[in-house]
């Protein structure tokens, strides 16, 4: 594996893309479970969510997982840019007439654009919540950092741009959905995990994941926005 030629190969790049992408799918599942607690806006819900946020930012094993997640995002983005740039170079002169829709899905042809939308969302999302949780300013409740209120306020009437924030969130989830509908099964294919018996199942699971996860994510800010109107 020390041979740099091998690590630079197109297939190795795809393994990195697939492993980081599929790891991020697991991350999304974990993140979603945490976020769904926000549907409980009572005082107990607030405490439970803040305890959860405290645990997620301090428990050593979770910390390790979070570093893995940062690494996965970094690898996925850098590798994605490298692949996309190489792919452009492989066809310097384009077709005058090209019918891309005749033989490939829209998602599969737009992974770079979809990924870029996700990246923009990710940066603003981390600025709004991750940064505030880690570096403040943030209030306290029951001796814990009150992330619950930060979220409620962000999607509530006190934020003049809450409507825009919800719209941006929903748009990003659409991008994530299309990214996953192609990406989930594509990751398995890149790793060589294809089988006539199991691949149709993987494809269906990817469709379910790609529609279900973003829809549930998006439903939270929409809910928080409307109950506070």
């Amino acid at each position: 594996m020390s041979n740099s030629g091998i690590l630079r190969s197109s297939l190795a790049k795809k393994y990195v893309m697939a492993l980081s992408g599929l790891f991020l799918c697991l991350f999304l599942l974990g993140h979603l479970v945490g976020n769904l607690q926000l549907f409980n806006t009572s005082a107990e819900g607030q405490l439970a969510f803040n305890e959860y946020a405290h645990f997620m930012t301090t428990f050593p094993l979770v910390k390790l997982l979070s570093y893995l997640t940062y690494a996965a995002v970094l690898f996925h983005v850098v590798d994605g840019i490298a692949l996309t740039m190489q792919n452009r170079k492989a066809r310097p002169t384009g077709y005058v007439k090209e019918k891309g829709s005749a033989n490939a899905s829209w998602s599969s042809r737009n992974m770079g654009i979809l990924g870029t939308i996700i990246l923009v969302f990710l940066v603003s999302h981390m600025q709004n919540f991750w940064y505030v949780m880690h570096f403040g300013p943030i209030g306290e409740s029951d001796g814990l950092k009150d992330l619950h209120t930060v979220v409620m306020t962000f999607f509530g009437p006190e934020n003049g741009l809450a409507g825009l924030a919800v719209a941006g969130y929903v748009l990003a989830q659409f991008a994530l959905g299309f990214h996953l509908i192609h990406g989930f099964q594509s990751g398995f294919q890149s790793l060589g995990l294809r089988h006539s018996k199991y691949s149709p199942l993987i494809e269906r699971a990817g469709l379910l994941f790609g529609i279900g996860v973003p829809t549930l994510f998006a439903s939270i800010p929409v809910y928080l926005f409307f109950i506070q109107l």
Binding site: S10, K13, A90, R91, K99, S108
Partner: protein, 250 residues
Amino acid sequence: MNLTLKVWRQNGPEVKGHMDTHALEGVSPDMSFLEMMDMLNDQIIRAGGEPVAFDHDCREGICGMCSMFINGEAHGPGRGVTTCQLHMRSFNDGDTIAIEPWRAQAFPVIKDLTVDRSAFDRVIQAGGYISVNTSGNTIDANAIPVPKEQADDAFSAATCIGCGACVASCKNASAMLFVSAKVSQFALLPQGQPERESRVQRMVEQMDKEGFGNCTNTGACAVECPKGIDLSNIARMNRDFMSATVKSKK
């Protein structure tokens, strides 16, 4: 049928090309696409012009030469056919048809619609063979039992005619379908085992060197492939390359 043809004209590899428009009248729906091109060239020559250069040989779907990107698709709108197997009945009277060469860094245009596909040859030279002693004591291939299903898959992979429609159709100009078919036809048979790992490494390395793009698994290649080469070949190559890379001593 009366048609308007927009054809790519380019005098040589280094010069700029452009789309030329020709009106062609009285085309029979029973003509193959190449016969229609012959008719066009006849018209051009009679008018004192330079005929359109295009590749063709067998005209029965087995040589893979007839590379043409027709109306935005490799080999035109048909499925499982080469350009020579495409017939004018697939089009309508009054249609405008765009005809372009394969577009890829690794397939430079020679003239008009002809491109240089020797990159494929170099990929094959890098490992698309088995080394056997042919000095008179060769063993009959059928002497080694091969499970029927395995033999069928190897045969399917071996039907690839090296036309390059996969590269032409791929948004990344990736050669994964072609290379994986050529890797698979040996990987599936006992005779291919001794060189299985070094073969996939050498062929992938050559593929990358030629400047083909990476695979995004869009599947466009398999849809446009005239021989129905399957994406499972790409998965097999991904698997083989991974295990070869992990196991190799270098």
